[in-house]
Symmetry: C2
Subunit: 261 residues, 2 copies
C-alpha cells in the first residue's frame, strides 16, 4: 500500500469535498513509497519523526507544518542546517509526510474538536452550536486548574479575574485571529474563551480591553499544541476504521514548553 | 504645546531619519490637542488609557498597537462594542495616541534594548554585536529563574534541557519571526535565544528541531510585553531630557497573563 493510496482513502472517507486550495498536501518524501506504518501527530517535529521511524512508521500525518511556516515553503532556507538535517532524516528513512489540517477541521463534527471533547470529558456539555460548552459553575481559576490537570499542561496562561464566575465556554483550537477572538468574546453567552495561541497585540489585547471595558470575560491560552493534539489521537482512531493493512499509531508531539519551578 | 509639537521634537531628537513608510503615526485623537501630560507605555490598552487619563496625561506614546492589529486598521470593526468604548473614552478625555515603534528600535542604541539592558543589569555583559550578551555561566533553568525574578514574570515559557550550560545569550525583543529565530539559533556563539513571543509552528518548532538535531540550544519566551516594556520606561526618561513643559510618566501595561497556582 503506497502513501498515495492511504491519502486517497482518507479523501474518500473524510466526508467533505476535497478542496482545490488547501495546505493538505504531501510535504516531504515520495508518495509512491510503500507504507510500513502510519503515525498521526499534532506537528511533525524532528523529534516526532525520530520516534515514528523508531517504531517502524514511515508515513507521518501531521496537523501543523513540518517546515516552520504555514505553506511549508523551504526555498528561502534550503541551506539551513536544521532544515537540512530534518530533510535528510526523512530521506534516509524513506519517510513520507502529509499534512491533514483543513479537511480534518472541515469534517463534521470537526475532527480536532471531537478529540478535544473526548480528552476533556465534555461530551455532554455541548451547547447547541459547534464550539460552545456549558460547564458546571466554577471560577476562571477553577476552570484553568481543571484544564491544566486534565490536559497535563506545564505552561498555561490566563487573562481575567481569577474569581470570575464561569459556566459558558467557547473553545477555539489552535491559532486564534483577532476576528476569531472578537467573535467569541463579543457573544453574550460566552464567559471565557479557551484557545491555543493568539498574538499579544491582536486577540490578547482585545481580551484585555474587553475586560477593562467592564465585560465579565476571561481568556485561557492553553498553547497551540495542547489545544489541538487530542484531535490527532482521534485521527489515529478514525484511520484504523478503514486502514487495516498497516499499524496506525498516535505519536504525541507534546507541549513544547516548560516553566521554571 | 500641542501633541504634534511633541512628536516633531521627537522626530528631531531621535537621531535617525524619519521614514516615509512607518507605523509611527497618530492612531487616535486630534494632533492639535494641547498636551497636559505624556504617558509612555508598551501598549495603549484600555486599562493604560484609563490610568493615563486619571493622572492627567492626555498624550499616550505607545510602542505597540492601540487597536489590535499592526496597522491599527479599524474599518472592519467600527461597530465592535469594545473598540467603540475605547474610541469613545479617547474622545471624551481629549486624548491623543501616537505609536513609537520603528524609530525607537532604529535609534542607536535601540531604545527598547537600552531599557531592557538597564532592567536586567546587563550593561557590562554586552557582546560586540548589538543583541548578544555573555553572562556568568549558569544553566538554562538558572537563567530562566533569574529572568523571571528580575522581570517579575508570572507566565514564562522555556524550551530545552534545564541543565543546558548557558553563557551566550541572544535577546530578541517582541515578536520573533521564523527568520529571526533561524538567524539567532544557527549562530555558533548563541546558547539561548530569549524572545518575547513566536508562533508555535514557526520559531518555536524551529527551536524544538534545532535541539532534536543535537544542537546545544535553549529558548526562553518571556512574553511580548515583558520583553519590551522596560524600553518604554527608558523612553519616558529620554523624553524628559527635551520635553520639560509637561509631566512625562511611564505607565506600565504589565504582563497580560497569570498562571494558576
Amino acid at each position: 500500500m503506497t502513501a498515495r493510496a492511504v491519502i486517497e482513502r482518507i479523501q474518500q472517507k473524510v466526508g467533505v469535498p476535497w478542496r482545490a486550495q488547501t495546505v493538505d498536501t504531501f510535504k516531504a518524501g515520495d508518495p509512491e513509497t510503500t507504507v510500513t506504518g502510519i503515525a498521526t501527530t499534532f506537528m511533525a517535529t524532528y523529534d516526532v519523526l525520530q520516534r515514528a521511524a523508531a517504531s517502524g512508521k514511515n508515513l507521518v500525518i501531521t496537523h501543523e507544518p513540518t517546515f516552520y511556516n504555514h505553506e511549508d515553503q523551504t526555498k528561502d532556507f534550503a541551506d539551513d542546517p536544521v532544515y537540512a538535517a530534518k530533510a535528510a532524516f526523512i530521506n534516509q528513512h524513506k519517510m513520507v509526510v502529509f499534512r491533514f489540517h483543513d479537511h480534518w477541521h472541515a469534517r463534521r463534527p470537526d475532527g480536532i474538536m471531537a478529540g478535544v471533547i473526548e480528552a476533556l470529558g465534555w461530551e455532554k456539555l455541548r451547547a447547541p452550536d459547534q464550539r460552545g460548552f456549558t460547564i458546571p459553575s466554577t471560577t476562571l481559576d477553577g476552570l484553568a486548574r481543571d484544564l491544566r490537570d486534565r490536559l497535563k499542561i506545564r505552561a498555561m496562561r490566563v487573562i481575567g479575574d481569577p474569581e470570575l464566575a464561569v459556566t459558558r465556554v467557547a473553545y477555539s483550537p489552535g491559532f486564534t485571529s483577532l476576528q476569531g477572538a472578537m467573535r467569541s468574546l463579543s457573544r453574550p453567552d460566552v464567559d471565557v474563551l479557551v484557545l491555543g495561541e493568539s498574538r499579544e497585540w491582536e486577540g490578547i489585547e482585545y481580551a484585555q480591553d474587553a475586560i477593562a471595558a467592564g465585560r465579565k470575560k476571561g481568556l485561557i491560552a492553553l498553547g497551540h499544541a495542547i489545544s489541538e493534539e487530542p484531535g490527532m489521537k482521534e485521527c489515529a482512531a478514525w484511520l484504523k476504521t478503514f486502514v487495516t493493512e498497516v499499524p496506525v499509531e498516535f505519536v504525541p508531539a507534546g507541549e513544547p514548553f516548560w516553566t521554571p519551578k
